[in-house]
Subunit: 285 residues, 2 copies
Amino acid sequence: MRQLRGAEVSAKIKEQVQAGLAELTGLPPKLAIVRVGDKPDDLSYERGAKKKLESFGLRVQSYAYPEKIGDADFFRAFCELNADPEVTGILLLLPLPSRIRMDRIRERIDPDKDMDGISPVNLAKVFAGDPDGFAPCTAEAVVDILKENGILLAGQRVTVVGRSMVVGRPLSMLLLKENATVTICHTRTRDLEKVCREADILVACAGQKRMIDRTYVKDQAIVVDVGIHVDESGTLCGDVAYEDICETASMATPVPGGVGSVTTAVLAKHLLQAAQRAQRRKEMQ
Amino acid sequence: MRQLRGAEVSAKIKEQVQAGLAELTGLPPKLAIVRVGDKPDDLSYERGAKKKLESFGLRVQSYAYPEKIGDADFFRAFCELNADPEVTGILLLLPLPSRIRMDRIRERIDPDKDMDGISPVNLAKVFAGDPDGFAPCTAEAVVDILKENGILLAGQRVTVVGRSMVVGRPLSMLLLKENATVTICHTRTRDLEKVCREADILVACAGQKRMIDRTYVKDQAIVVDVGIHVDESGTLCGDVAYEDICETASMATPVPGGVGSVTTAVLAKHLLQAAQRAQRRKEMQ
């Protein structure tokens, strides 16, 4: 079985981003990472993203707010950075505390700065297959891993296990745009193994530790694992029982080292695209 | 085979709408039908919708503009009726002439008046499975026909043939909300017959005259036909070769008399919902 490693795809995206950056004038694009509180997961993600984006030649600035910040205060601060012409793109570390009304944040975020596709405008574009919309980075990372590895999507049967708004649903629409025949499965799907075995390409984004074993995988199918969990022994693992599917699948992404490492590269790509659009708008004025 | 007739579903929706209207204060809700030019199809649809909505106890007013109207003039007129508190809901007869920029109309239409789900806000809600979003009426009509006939959707395999933004895509999301396992097919799907034969419920919205014959239908499957065409002999027909599937399917919608007759009832339901929301907003002030 061939391992689909994220690092190689990330390196290709890095080359594309750097080529694009060379054509831009002024300071490098800047990502604002918006964080409320100091959750260890958020801090660790933030450090990783900062390091990677800076290695691509991009700027990253943290906007951290106290855990106890009120809805009105947060909204005011958010609107200010949203309007700041120095900020090229925005990434919110989610979920925010429940007292903060996410609805109006989603509606307010400038769609041109919305790097992880949370605004209605971008989601509607992803839904419609409009390439101008920013898709959630993880969903796009799955498509990039497949395409950058030369895997044909048009006419292929792809089964997506999971229907979240960060992966399953937007990914299904991105796959549809690539002319795949898409089946969306979830917790209420009957005979899930059988439905999964129809797939030429199986994407696991169910959020269930090692749930996809070889009984779900057609012989020679391609398996993409979006899950990321820590198991009982403290080891990172995905939604796929990787060792178990090795003999059945023709290719699969590992965890760690698969989709996760491409997600930040997609974030960098979005930041470049946002900067390119901002520059075009400026030139047209 | 049992025929799933739209008239019965439409009658049920009429009862619900009339019960809702009885609780409203003031004049009955008013639908603005916006038309550019005098295309016979538009005029015929407009007459039918007006007659049906008035029979439900609703008001309908046509806003007709000359075929040659400029983009700026149309936009100005549209913004005015969009802001008119007397207008409860808006239906645009599409497509408009290409000189009219639909993008800014979609972005401008008040999501609370957007009866056929064309605004990004409503599409994003439909995408996310948020019941507050207005879905395109035809897509919702398909779900209503199935549900009002007591057909179980949760856990069922539903195949949707067609991926348009007026039916296929939003319908897939509505079916997902009902916990169906959804497969989306299109012109690039390989071995379409086989994929369709996996379906417990098959929805044809491909826009191809009588393309779905019995080779696409699993024994005892339920078939919903969204297509509407006029054949060589001047007879109305759908995407399904109805006579051919009769012995195979357990239930199917006819054309005419199926989905089409429910679509306007869904439009009436949306208009009631818009009026209910407007009243709640008024009461909260």
